[in-house]
């Protein structure tokens, strides 16, 4: 009680790397959707 638990650095970095990759994939999908969306909508 009253003290912050020590952060496990390696676990934190691993979790952060996964979050980075997940965010990157989401943003790449948005870009791909815009690209194909524009082409398909003009067919």
């Amino acid at each position: 009680m009253g003290t912050e638990p020590e952060r496990d650095e390696s676990e934190f970095i691993a979790r952060r790397s996964k979050a980075n990759i997940r965010l990157a994939i989401c943003l790449a999908l948005v870009a791909a959707a815009v690209y194909f969306g524009f082409i398909v909508s003009h067919m």
Binding site: R16, N20, L23, A24, V30, A31, F36, G37, F38, H42
Partner: protein
């Protein structure tokens, strides 16, 4: 003040850097990749600048002097493509690579390998583009806007142009994803979004603009490619397509692109003015919201680039008023920069001089933009040198001057040496005088009716063209001084301390100059004093 206490004590343990060519080819270090982006932008600046010199030499007097019309048009087209995609954008990404991780207390970019790939695509893409000069049909000459049907008449260079644009798009999108992931996930503990330096904020917004707009350009040029080689008729009237549709799609990318070029410049200036005014930035939150508002509005103004194609009156009115509305958040920013300086203890080192000239000269470009945004007036100005003067005030005295201000501002941090202040000031004064001699007369030429992208002109335009060309040559030569200042600063100079500038605030200024190869491997703690808000 908050701290990177870790580095001074521990950096020896982990400052192992690779050596030789491999260090640069396979780099995953944000500082090295930032340096590569900046050096690449500088090289491309001189290539694009040489093309501008050809244009100004040809336009020095009426009649055909040095090049044939096709080559002249290739010069204007390639100058624009090189300067936009090869200079301003990579230089902005280079500054982001160097500074964003250090400003937010991150050890590196979120996705370092992708960062390497984002950069190395660029030299490859531009080699492809420049190679078109040696192909059947020559280099692209239909304008950087690539309007069909003219652009589809290009010879063997056409697919190379299209793939270059695709590669540049992929590079920019990967860079943008990396910047967003870095800022969202890698901030030091205690650094909330409203504590981010303005430069970081402008890059978040720019990165989202890139992700939303670059695929639009990629889609448009893919459609050009299939129209030419695969029998589609997206933009071919004979097949049921519409060439004007290309213009709509292109500018749906093109106007946000303008803000992709200028928002990082706003960020740089927002770092420099408070530093040399020795005051916090006035209206931090309003600056953030104004930047976001500008970015949002940029998606609803595209048709002001094409008022003369013929569109319903309601459409023209909508795009005119939408364009005018961008002046409001832009005005907020200019007001805040001036209010920051108000009663500040100002000094005028080279970065501040460039930043101040940015505020004044960018505003001139903004005002001529407002004139162009007025639909009936635009019918007179469209496709004249007035447009050329307008966007060069925005992109040269705006974006480029801000990038130069940033380079001078952060050079001591990067190299560990102070640059030569006298040479820096000489570079500034030569640049600021010559750039106005170069571009201001182009307003008069445009208002008098001189069309753009034409290698010859009526004799009545001679005097102002001569003056403009002289300004251009002086501006071009002055930039060699910039290179000399950088080289000199890398090699020698007074030792720079951590803070470099008396009024500098933020995590990056707590690191040694130059910073060790790896920084913030243990996250710093951010407190109230370091917060930028």
């Amino acid at each position: 003040m908050s701290y990177a206490e870790t580095h001074e004590h521990h950096h020896d343990d982990h400052d192992h850097k690779p050596t030789g060519l491999g260090r640069w080819l396979f780099s995953t270090n944000h500082k090295d990749i930032g340096t590569m982006y900046l050096v690449f932008a500088l090289i491309m600046f001189f290539i694009g600048g040489a093309m501008a010199m050809v244009v100004r030499a040809e336009l020095f007097q009426p009649g055909m002097q040095y090049v044939d019309p096709q080559f002249f048009n290739a010069m204007t087209t390639m100058h624009a493509l090189v300067m936009i995609f090869g200079v301003i954008m990579p230089a902005g990404v280079g500054l982001a690579n160097w500074m964003v991780p250090m400003m937010i207390g991150a050890p590196d970019m979120a996705l370092p390998r992708m960062n390497n790939m984002s950069f190395w695509i660029l030299p490859f893409a531009f080699t492809m583009l420049l190679a078109t000069f040696f192909m059947e049909g020559g280099a692209p000459a239909g304008g950087w806007t690539m309007y069909p049907p003219l652009i589809t008449q290009l010879g063997d260079g056409f697919p190379f142009l299209i793939f270059t644009v695709h590669f540049l798009g992929v590079s920019s999108i990967m860079g943008a994803i990396n910047i967003i992931a870095t800022i969202f996930n890698m901030r030091a503990p205690g650094m909330g979004f409203m504590q981010l330096p303005l430069f970081v904020w402008t890059w978040i917004i720019t990165a989202f603009l890139l992700i939303a707009s670059m695929p639009v350009l990629a889609g448009a040029v893919t459609m050009l490619l299939t129209d030419k080689y695969f029998g589609t008729s997206f933009f071919i009237a004979a097949g049921g397509g519409d060439p004007v549709m290309f213009q709509h799609i292109f500018w749906c990318f093109g106007h946000p692109e303008v803000y992709i070029l200028i928002l990082p410049a706003f960020g740089i200036v927002s770092q420099i003015i408070p530093t040399f005014s020795r005051k916090p930035l006035f209206g931090y939150e309003s600056m953030v919201y104004a930047t976001a508002a500008i970015a949002f509005l940029s998606f609803f103004v595209w048709a002001h680039h094409m008022f003369t194609v013929g569109m319903p009156l309601a459409g023209e009115l909508f795009f005119m008023y939408a364009t005018m509305s961008i002046a409001v958040p832009t005005g907020v920013k200019v007001f805040n920069w001036i209010a920051t300086m108000w009663r500040g203890a100002m000094t005028f080192e080279t970065p501040m001089l460039f930043a101040l000239s940015f505020v004044i000269l960018f505003s001139i470009g903004g005002f001529s933009g407002l004139m162009l945004g007025i639909t009936p007036a635009d019918f007179q100005y469209h496709d004249t040198y007035f447009v050329v003067a307008h966007f060069h005030y925005v992109l040269v005295t705006g974006a480029l001057f801000a990038l130069m201000a940033g380079a001078y501002f952060w050079l001591p941090k990067w190299t560990g040496h102070m640059y030569d202040e006298k040479l820096g000031q000489l570079h500034f004064w030569l640049s600021v005088i010559s750039v106005n001699v170069l571009f201001f007369p182009q307003h008069f030429l445009g208002l008098a009716g001189m069309p753009r992208r034409i290698p010859d002109y009526a004799v009545q335009f001679t005097e102002w063209n001569m003056i403009s060309s002289v300004g251009g040559f002086v501006f071009g030569i002055s930039q060699l001084l910039f290179v000399w200042v950088i080289v000199k600063c890398v090699r020698e100079g007074k030792k720079a301390d951590e803070q470099v500038w008396e009024g500098a605030r933020g995590l990056e200024w707590t690191l040694p100059s130059p910073p060790p190869f790896h920084t913030f491997t243990i996250p710093p703690k951010v407190d109230e004093a370091t917060a930028h808000s």
